[in-house]
């Protein structure tokens, strides 16, 4: 294994789905059920059995809209306010309207959702206004259940191939170029439609531990979805709306106020006082978190030590076995116990993600990108605050729409020269006798992301970042060196990460206002509703560098009253309440 072999294979399919984490499998199932004749290929860099954010399981649905608890109107309003107004509501509304059907399907797959004594869904309130969080008592089975369905539906699964570039021709999608991560052999996939579900750009900033893979996101999500879309000419929306999350310091996993919150836990300052009204993650909430850390009242903690033993035991049971099961090891190693002390929290590295924020490839309510036949769903597609159920539901929309799209099209012709050029680019680090290993290119890029792009954002620092990135790019293109195909995968990721870093700097400089709390806090600019109530769309310009345009926010379908608009802006608890 890991030798560098020569070889290129070509396959054809009707629908190629890249990324078999969360959105991808649902897209595959929906497409196959709608058209059992369709040849659907699900391709992943890892092994679909255990890939993606939900690899080990999930604690619950963070954003479910369940009749009797919430309405699509309420949810659309909540997300519009939480995402500071820059929302095409149609996509959010459609998700809210149809996600209940997906919950019922997941239920049939054997994934259980918490019910109360009356057999009703036991939905919890975590958001500012509405009630949407639904715990999953057997959340550790979610990926297994999904995988069983894929096998049953006879979806063609291709593991350990990393997509590196999309192919286009005749102004539409034509397929993708992929590299085997264990042999370096190429796979060219011709497809009538392509659905991208490659997850977040999770390796953009460097975690404070300095460990490259100690990220919040599944570290295999290095951002190829973003980079491939960019190189293919698709539009990416609001990339300056970074993802930044409140996490357990060093461990860098979610503190999980969504689990602990409804049971009485909360985020506290060093005095043990609550300082934010609502623990639902938003840029405005993160700004308060940051202010507390910087203002001398930190560290910030997850506070559970005031709770009854049974409650703590239950929280531990959920947090230590499901989503990130090594969390128990972490606390044990440090000798920290929820019962006796508060748990130190911190701010995560920056990334692109629409699952938790709103930075993603532009899509409409059918998950269509700006390139015909190319779809995106899940964390990489810009439906804000998507989370897991958003990935499932929008993945379903993509799969269903792609089946209609392929009815009327054949394979698009593409230029074989593109494949040759990509092979040359990919293999360049294998042709040298020595040079810089990918981990050092990656480390340097990500350290500069931290030094210069982490909010609060400063113009001069971001411009310096661009200069440093150009230097690293020069080194990468001329000196990067790999010894086996595993390192080759890492070198391709390093190049993706650098593309994302360039996009992060360019997008942040373009929006000359502050928006989304900490996510796009530009110290030199105030919020500017008059000129900046719009999406920013980033594309690859003719000069090969990021180009930008403004795109109007679609007229709201759910009106927001003036007195509601600021619900998320006033996050700070007025007079901090002492702990019980």
């Amino acid at each position: 294994m890991d030798e560098i072999l020569d070889g290129t294979t070509q396959i054809d399919c009707d629908i190629l789905i890249i990324g078999g984490g969360t959105a991808g499998p649902m897209a595959a199932l929906k497409a196959k059920r709608k058209n059992p004749e369709a040849n659907v290929v699900l391709l992943d860099k890892a092994n679909v059995k255990r890939s993606g954010a939900i690899s080990m399981g999930m604690d619950g649905l963070n954003n479910s809209v369940i009749p009797g608890y919430a309405t699509p109107e309420q949810y659309t309003k909540e997300i519009t306010i939480a995402n500071d107004g820059i929302v095409d509501q149609k996509a959010v509304y459609r998700y809210a309207d149809e996600c209940y059907g997906i919950i019922q399907e997941l239920d049939q797959f054997g994934i259980r959702f918490q019910k109360d004594q009356n057999g009703e869904y036991d939905v919890k309130k975590v958001h500012h206004i509405g009630t949407y969080v639904l715990p999953m008592p057997n959340g550790d089975t979610v990926k297994k259940a999904l995988y069983r369905q894929l096998r049953k539906a006879r979806i063609n699964i291709v593991n350990r191939y990393m997509a590196t570039r999309l192919l286009t021709g005749e102004d539409r999608i034509a397929g993708a170029i992929c590299v085997n991560t264990r042999t370096a052999e190429f796979l060219v996939v011709r497809a009538k439609a392509v659905i991208m579900a490659l997850g977040a750009a999770g390796r953009l900033g460097l975690p404070s531990s300095g460990y490259l893979y100690g990220t919040y996101e599944n570290a295999s999500n290095s951002g190829e979805g973003y980079a491939m879309s960019y190189h293919a000419g698709a539009g990416l929306a609001n990339l300056e709306c970074f993802q930044i999350n409140p996490l357990i310091k060093d461990y860098n996993g979610p503190a999980c106020a969504y689990v602990a919150g409804p049971m009485g836990g909360y985020t506290a300052n060093a005095q043990g006082e609550r300082f934010i009204e609502c623990d639902y993650w938003s840029g405005q909430m993160m700004q308060e978190f940051y202010d507390e850390l910087q203002g001398g009242k930190g560290p910030v903690y997850l506070k559970l030590n005031h709770l009854a033993e049974e409650t703590v035991a239950e929280i531990e049971r959920v947090l230590h076995i499901v989503e990130r099961p090594t969390r128990g090891h972490f606390h044990k190693g440090r000798g920290t116990d929820y019962r006796t002390e508060m748990i130190e929290m911190h701010i995560s590295e920056v990334g692109f993600c629409s699952g938790h924020s709103a930075s993603g490839v532009f899509v409409d309510e059918h998950a269509r990108t700006t390139i015909p036949g190319l779809y995106a769903a899940g964390d990489m597609a810009n439906v804000p605050h998507n989370y897991m159920l958003g990935a499932f539901t929008n993945g379903a929309f993509a799969g269903l729409d792609a089946v209609d799209y392929i009815k009327d099209v054949d394979f698009a012709d593409f230029d074989m020269g593109e494949v040759d050029a990509e092979q040359t680019r990919v293999l360049a680090p294998t042709k040298r006798d020595d040079g810089i290993p990918p981990n050092q290119i990656e480390y340097k890029t990500r350290r500069f992301v931290n030094d210069y792009l982490q909010p609060p954002k400063v113009t001069a620092k971001m411009e310096l970042a661009q200069r440093r990135f150009a230097e690293v790019r020069h080194d990468m293109e001329n000196e990067m060196y790999v010894r086996d195909s595993h390192e080759l995968m890492r070198s391709l990721e390093a190049s993706t990460i650098l593309d994302c870093a360039d996009m992060a700097a360019a997008a942040s400089l373009y929006r000359t206002e502050s928006r989304w709390g900490l996510y796009h806090n530009r110290v030199e600019y105030e919020r500017d509703d008059e000129n900046w109530f719009c999406h920013t769309i980033l594309t690859k310009g003719d000069d090969g560098k990021p180009a930008h345009r403004k795109q109007p926010v679609q007229p709201y379908v759910v009106e927001i009253d003036d007195d509601e608009k600021n619900a998320y802006a006033n996050q700070r608890v007025n007079s901090t309440v002492a702990a019980e």
């Binding site: 890892a46 350990r160 570290a219 461990y251 595993h486 890492r490």
Partner: protein, 80 residues
């Protein structure tokens, strides 16, 4: 220029006595999302899984899916 041989302690360890890679098992290698585990043959010909690349998300599929309980996931030292 040769590359340096900087060492690092890996977070995932495999109990040689329990590992049945000899019998053809590759489960942990197959499931790891970061693809950092491999099978090594020792001088006596026995085979064991081991962590080849220190690039771990401490996510645990390797430990959870190993049929004999041979894998232990510890935290990478830098964030422990």
């Amino acid at each position: 220029m040769p590359l340096a041989q900087t060492s690092s302690i890996v977070p995932v360890v495999v109990d040689k006595a329990l590992c049945i890679a000899d019998k053809g098992c590759t489960v942990c290698v197959d499931v790891c999302p970061l693809d950092v585990l491999r099978i090594a043959a020792s001088d006596d010909g026995t085979q064991t899984a081991y962590m080849k690349y220190d690039e771990c998300w401490y996510c645990m599929p390797c430990e959870a899916d190993c049929p004999t309980g041979a894998v232990t996931v510890n935290l990478p030292y830098l964030l422990k």
